[in-house]
C-alpha cells in the first residue's frame, strides 16, 4: 500500500500540527516530530476495558452539522447552509474552553460526526480540532474517527484527515446499488463508494468502517444478501447495519404518513437483521452490538462508550455529554447553540441528573444491545423470581455466561423489550 507522507500534504496556510494520534502505519515514518507521545502510540486500539467500569478515559464527540443535501431518512442535526461554518469553528473552540478545563484528563477517543464532517474544508476543520492538543490531548492509542461521505473522498482530503490525526474512518456507503442510493437521496454511486474506500486505505486508514441501511421498501432477503456480499468485498474492518427507522420530521416519515411509502415491517426487518448476522458472522465479523459488526479488535471504541458508561463530552449543536450520572445535550439548531454558548449559564432544560433507577434502566437497555450483555445482578428480583428471566433464557433470547447475561442475536432484536421487563 502506497502511503503518502503527511509532511507534503497541502494543508497550507494552517498551523498544521502532526497527527493527533498517529496510527503508526506500516511505513513508520509518518509520525510528526513534535508529537509528544508518538512513541507510545499503538496502531491497534488496546483491549476494551470491562463494560460498566468507570475508569475509561472520556470520549470526545464533535458534531459538524453541515450537509450538502439533507437525506430523506436522516434526523441528525444538520444544515445545508454552510455559511455558518466559521461561527461553528469559533463555537466549538468556545464550548471547549467552557466545558473542558486545564486539568481535564486526555481523551480516550475522538469522534467527528455529523452532518457530514468530510464536507468541512480543511481550514475550518483544523481550527475546530487544534485546541485538543493544546489542551488535554489524547491518550496513547486513542481511536480518532471521522465520518466521511464517499463523494468527499479524494487522495488529498484523505491524506489531510490522516494528517490531522484521524486513524479511523467511517464511510457512509449506505447501499451497494445505485438505485437504492438514489432512493436514499445520496449524492454518490457505488463506483464512487468503492473508489473512496480504496483511496482511504491508500491514505493509511487501516481501521475503516462502513455504514449500510436495510429494511428499505421492496428490499428482500436476496437483495440484502447481495448488498452485504458486495460490502464485504470492500474488506471493511467494521460494518454498521442500521434498520431503516422512520424519524419524525424526515421526508420518509412524511411519505409513510401520506401513504406514499410502506412503513417498515418489523417481521421483514427481523429476517434481514438475522440474515446480516448470519452473513457477517460467517465472514469473521463479531456481532457486538445491535447494529454493529467488527473484525476482531476493531470494535468502535468511541461508540462503545455510549453503551458501556464511559463518560463523554459532546461539542457542537445537538451533541450529547455524559459524566457522573449527568446527561447534557446541546441545542440542535446551530444559531441556538451559538446563542446558548454566549449566555452566562447553561439552559437547565438541557441537562438531567439520573437517579439510580434511571441509570439502572439505561444500563440494562444499553448493555442488552451489546455482546457484553449485563451483569446478572442487575436484573430486578421480580423478573428473576417470577420466571421471566428463565423464560428469556429458555426462549434463546439470552445466554447466561458466568455472572453475566448476554443477548443472542435474536435477543438483541428485542433488547428494548427485555430491558423493560428485566428492570422490573
Amino acid at each position: 500500500m502506497d502511503i503518502p507522507s503527511v509532511k507534503n500534504s497541502r494543508l497550507t496556510g494552517f498551523a498544521v500540527r502532526p497527527n493527533l494520534a498517529d496510527p503508526g502505519t506500516k511505513g513508520g515514518d509518518v509520525r510528526g516530530p513534535s508529537w509528544p507521545w508518538a512513541s507510545l502510540i499503538h496502531e491497534m486500539p488496546g483491549p476494551s476495558p470491562h463494560p460498566e467500569s468507570p475508569e475509561k478515559s472520556p470520549g470526545l464527540y464533535i458534531h459538524a452539522p453541515f450537509c450538502v443535501t439533507k437525506c430523506p431518512y436522516c434526523a441528525f442535526a444538520s444544515t445545508v447552509d454552510r455559511e455558518g461554518m466559521a461561527s461553528w469553528v469559533l463555537g466549538i473552540r468556545r464550548e471547549a474552553r467552557q466545558r473542558i478545563d486545564g486539568s481535564a484528563p486526555p481523551f480516550g477517543s475522538l469522534y467527528l460526526g455529523g452532518g457530514t464532517p468530510s464536507a468541512v474544508p480543511l481550514a475550518p476543520l483544523t481550527d475546530a480540532l487544534s485546541w485538543i492538543e493544546d489542551g488535554p490531548g489524547l491518550v496513547p492509542g486513542a481511536e480518532c474517527t471521522i465520518e466521511v461521505n464517499p463523494g468527499d473522498v479524494d487522495p488529498a482530503s484523505s491524506n489531510a484527515w490522516r494528517a490531522l490525526g484521524f486513524n479511523r474512518v467511517s464511510v457512509g456507503v449506505q447501499a451497494m446499488d445505485d438505485a437504492t442510493l438514489a432512493f436514499l437521496g445520496r449524492r454518490h454511486d457505488v463506483v464512487t463508494a468503492r473508489a473512496a474506500v480504496q483511496t482511504l486505505r491508500q491514505a493509511g486508514f487501516l481501521n475503516l468502517g462502513i455504514d449500510l441501511i436495510y429494511g428499505l421498501p421492496g428490499q428482500d432477503a436476496r437483495a440484502w444478501e447481495r448488498a452485504l456480499q458486495a460490502a464485504l468485498a470492500l474488506a471493511p474492518d467494521h460494518v454498521s447495519c442500521y434498520g431503516l427507522t422512520l424519524e419524525p420530521g424526515t421526508r420518509f416519515a412524511d411519505a409513510v404518513a401520506r401513504g406514499d411509502m410502506p412503513a417498515p415491517d418489523d417481521e421483514r426487518v427481523a429476517d434481514l437483521f438475522l440474515l446480516a448476522d448470519h452473513v457477517l458472522t460467517d465472514a469473521g465479523y463479531e456481532h457486538y452490538e445491535v447494529s454493529n459488526y467488527a473484525l476482531p479488535g476493531r470494535r468502535a471504541r468511541h461508540n462503545a462508550s455510549y453503551w458501556d458508561g464511559t463518560p463523554y463530552i459532546g461539542l457542537g449543536p445537538a451533541a450529547h455529554s455524559f459524566r457522573d450520572d449527568v446527561r447534557e445535550w446541546n441545542a440542535g439548531n446551530l444559531a441556538t447553540w451559538l446563542d446558548e454558548l454566549a449566555a452566562p449559564e447553561r439552559a437547565p432544560a438541557r441537562r438531567e441528573r439520573l437517579d439510580a433507577r434511571q441509570r439502572g434502566l439505561e444500563i440494562l437497555a444499553l448493555g442488552l444491545r451489546t455482546r457484553d450483555g449485563i451483569a446478572a445482578a442487575r436484573v430486578a428480583p421480580g423478573p428473576a423470581g417470577d420466571g421471566t428471566l428463565s423464560r428469556l433464557i429458555d426462549e434463546g433470547l439470552l445466554l447466561s455466561r458466568k455472572s453475566r447475561l448476554v443477548p443472542t442475536p435474536r435477543g438483541m432484536l428485542v433488547a428494548d423489550a427485555m430491558a423493560r421487563v428485566l428492570a422490573g
Binding site: Y242, D266, V269, F322, R327, E362, D386, A415, A423
Partner: protein
C-alpha cells in the same frame, strides 16, 4: 281531577319520542325557547348518545284548550329497554293513556308492536301518532295502513305530526284532552300512591315520583311504605315543571313527587304503594315486585391503588340507583373489587359507563353470571353467582340454573336465524304466534345465563334491529354445569373464569381464547391461551411472539431520548394486569364479554 290527563309516550327507538316530548314541553311554555336544548328529557350523556331513555322523567304541563279550559297534562316518560320492563310497566300503570309513535318513514316496527301490547295490558287509551311527516321519505298512507293492519287501531284516529317542525302539536294536545280519560279516584278514600320512579337529591335525599290513585298526601303527613312498613314524615310534595315545584298537597289523580327525609333511593321500591300511616289503605296496589338482580359481575379498578376511589364512587352512585346491589370481592389477578348485581346486561353497561364518566373510574368487569344453585352430596344447597365460589366439583350432586320465558317479536323473514340462535342457546319449548301477517312472535324457554351473554346484541344483529325481546322469569331447572377456566401462559386467570353448561363450554372457551388472542399484545415469547374444565384443556389459541423491539441506533450518544421512550413504554404497561409474566390489557377483559358480528 276532570282537568288532569296522565299519559306516556311509547315508540320504537329513533321514532322521535324525545323530540315529541320536547315539543309538548315547549308548547306548555315551561322552558323559554332560547333555553331549549334538544331532547330536554334525556339528560344523561348515555341517554343522548344512545338515543334511549334510561331514567324516566315526569313533567307537569299546564294547557289551555281550544275551548279555553285550563288542563294539567302529566307526561310520564318511560325507559326503553327490556332490562327496565318492570319500570315501564309501573310508569304505564300510572297513566290513563299513551301516545304510540309511528315513524312515517319507517312504519310500524317490532318494538311498536311490543309497546302496544304493554299499553293494552294496562287498559290504556291509545292515540296513534304518525311522526316525521315533514320528511320527503314520509309515507303517511303506508303508516296509516300499518296502523290498521298491524296494530288493529283506527287509522282515522291517528294524529299526523312533525315533532321536529312543531306541526300538528295543537291537534295532538286537543286529542289528548278529548280522548284520554280523566283519572278516577276518591280524594277522601285511604291514600294509595304508586311509586313509579325515584331519584336522589344530594340535599333532600330520595325524591319519590308517584301517582295518587286515592286520598291525599300533604307535608307533615306520616306515610308508610306498604311493602316494608317503614314510615317517613313528608317534608314536601309537588309537581315537576322541569324543576320541582312545591304544592300544598297531592290528591287522587295527581302525578308528582314527595320528599320525606328518605336517605337513599334504596329505601323506596318502584311499584310499592305509599299510604298514610294514620289511615292506611287495606291493601297495596296490584303489581309490586321486588327489583331483584339477575346478572352478576365483579368490578375492579384497573389500578389496584384505586380501590378506595371505586368504593366511594359506588356508594355515591348507589344513592341514585336502587336496583344496583354490591358486596366486596377479590381476585388474584385483579386485586380488591366488588361483586355487583344488576337488573340485566344494559343495566350493567349503564352502571359501568356512569361510573367511568361521572365518577372518573377506570374499570375492569368480569364475565356476567346468573345465580346458580348447587346441591351438594351433604344434602345442602349453595347459591353461587360468582365462579370464584364454585364448589369443589367432587362435592356437587347436581346443579340448577334459572330459566326465562322469552318472547321475541320480529318480521317473519328472520325466523330461521332467530330460531337457530335460540336453539344454540339451549332454548326449549318453542311456540310460534302470528299476531299479524308478516310478523311473528317466537316464544322460548331459555337459560338466563345464555341470555345475559350477548344474546340481545346477537338478536339485534341478526334481525337488523327489527327483533324485540321481552322475558319473564321461570323456575330453576336441572343443568349440567361446570366451571370454565381460562389459562394465560399456563396460569389460571381467576377473573376470566365462568360457570357454563357443559354443552356450551367448548364454544365459550374458543370464543374467549380468540378474543384474548386478539387483545393481548404480543410479547417476546409465545403465549398459549387455553380454556379448561378441571385439568382438561378444551380450547387453545397461541399468541405468536414479536421479534423486533429495539431502536436501530442511539443518535450521537443521545441516551436520554431512548431512556425516556423506555420509561414511557413501561408506564403504558401500568394499565395492564400482570398475570405471571404476561401483561393483559384492560381491553382483553372487556373483549371476552363482547359480542362480535362474525361468530
Amino acid at each position: 281531577m276532570q282537568r288532569v290527563r296522565n299519559f306516556s309516550i311509547i315508540a320504537h327507538i329513533d321514532h322521535g319520542k324525545s323530540t315529541l316530548a320536547d315539543r309538548l314541553i315547549q308548547h306548555a311554555g315551561l322552558v323559554a325557547d332560547r333555553q331549549f336544548r334538544d331532547q330536554m328529557l334525556d339528560n344523561l350523556d348515555i341517554e343522548r348518545e344512545r338515543g334511549i331513555t334510561i331514567k324516566s322523567q315526569t313533567v307537569n304541563m299546564p294547557y289551555r284548550s281550544a275551548a279555553g279550559d285550563e288542563y294539567i297534562l302529566n307526561f310520564i316518560d318511560t325507559p326503553g329497554h327490556v332490562d327496565f320492563t318492570y319500570e315501564v310497566s309501573r310508569a304505564l300503570a300510572s297513566c290513563e293513556g299513551v301516545l304510540l309513535v309511528v315513524d312515517a318513514t319507517q312504519g310500524v316496527q317490532a318494538q311498536t308492536l311490543a309497546n302496544l301490547y304493554l299499553a293494552m295490558e294496562h287498559d290504556l287509551e291509545i292515540i296513534p301518532v304518525i311522526n316525521k311527516i315533514d320528511l320527503a321519505s314520509a309515507d303517511i298512507d303506508m303508516a296509516r295502513e300499518q296502523i290498521a293492519q298491524d296494530l288493529g287501531l283506527d287509522p282515522d284516529g291517528a294524529i299526523q305530526v312533525s315533532a321536529k317542525q312543531g306541526l300538528g302539536i295543537d291537534a295532538l294536545l286537543e286529542a289528548i284532552i278529548a280522548r284520554i280519560p280523566a283519572p278516577k279516584g276518591n280524594p277522601d278514600a285511604p291514600t294509595q300512591a304508586l311509586i313509579f320512579d325515584a331519584h336522589y337529591d344530594p340535599f333532600r335525599g330520595a325524591v319519590v315520583h308517584c301517582r295518587l290513585f286515592d286520598g291525599v298526601i300533604r307535608p307533615g303527613d306520616t306515610i308508610r311504605m306498604m311493602s316494608s312498613g317503614r314510615t317517613f314524615k313528608v317534608e314536601e310534595v309537588g309537581t315537576f315543571r322541569m324543576v320541582r315545584e312545591p304544592r300544598k298537597e297531592l290528591s287522587a289523580g295527581d302525578v308528582g313527587y314527595l320528599i320525606a327525609g328518605i336517605k337513599t333511593v334504596a329505601d323506596t321500591r318502584i311499584g310499592d304503594t305509599i299510604t298514610r300511616d294514620d289511615q292506611p289503605a287495606d291493601k297495596a296496589l296490584h303489581g309490586f315486585r321486588d327489583a331483584k338482580p339477575v346478572v352478576f359481575s365483579s368490578l375492579y379498578p384497573v389500578s389496584t391503588d384505586d380501590y378506595g376511589d371505586l368504593a366511594d364512587a359506588l356508594e355515591r352512585y348507589k344513592l341514585n340507583d336502587a336496583a344496583l346491589v354490591y358486596t366486596k370481592d377479590s381476585s388474584v389477578a385483579l386485586g380488591q373489587g366488588f361483586r355487583c348485581g344488576f337488573l340485566g346486561l344494559l343495566h350493567l353497561e349503564i352502571v359501568q359507563e356512569r361510573l367511568e364518566r361521572e365518577y372518573d373510574q377506570s374499570l375492569i368487569l368480569t364475565a356476567p353470571s346468573v345465580e346458580y344453585h348447587f346441591f351438594l352430596e351433604d344434602g345442602s344447597m349453595v347459591v353461587v353467582d360468582n365462579p370464584a365460589h364454585y364448589p369443589d366439583p367432587a362435592t356437587i350432586r347436581r346443579g340448577e340454573e334459572p330459566y326465562i320465558r322469552a318472547a321475541i317479536m320480529m318480521p317473519d323473514r328472520y325466523m330461521g336465524a332467530v330460531m337457530k340462535l335460540c336453539l344454540e342457546r339451549r332454548g326449549v319449548n318453542s311456540e310460534i304466534h302470528y299476531p299479524s301477517p308478516g310478523r311473528m312472535e317466537l316464544r322460548f324457554d331459555l337459560p338466563l345465563g345464555e341470555v345475559i351473554f350477548d344474546f340481545y346484541d346477537r338478536l339485534k344483529s341478526i334481525t337488523q334491529g327489527y327483533g324485540s325481546f321481552d322475558y319473564e322469569m321461570l323456575e330453576y331447572r336441572d343443568s349440567d354445569l361446570a366451571r370454565l377456566d381460562i389459562l394465560v401462559n399456563g396460569e389460571r386467570v381467576d377473573a376470566l373464569s365462568m360457570i357454563v353448561h357443559r354443552e356450551r363450554a367448548r364454544a365459550r372457551a374458543l370464543q374467549a381464547c380468540e378474543r384474548l388472542r386478539d387483545e393481548i399484545p404480543r410479547q417476546m415469547f409465545k403465549i398459549p391461551i387455553q380454556g379448561a374444565i378441571g385439568g382438561h384443556i378444551i380450547a387453545r389459541e397461541t399468541i405468536s411472539p414479536f421479534r423486533k423491539d429495539v431502536t436501530a441506533k442511539c443518535y450521537g450518544g443521545d441516551i436520554t431520548r431512548k431512556r425516556k421512550l423506555l420509561e414511557k413504554q413501561k408506564a403504558g404497561k401500568k394499565r395492564m394486569k400482570m398475570v405471571g409474566s404476561v401483561e393483559i390489557p384492560q381491553s382483553a377483559f372487556i373483549a371476552v364479554l363482547k359480542t362480535s358480528d362474525d361468530d
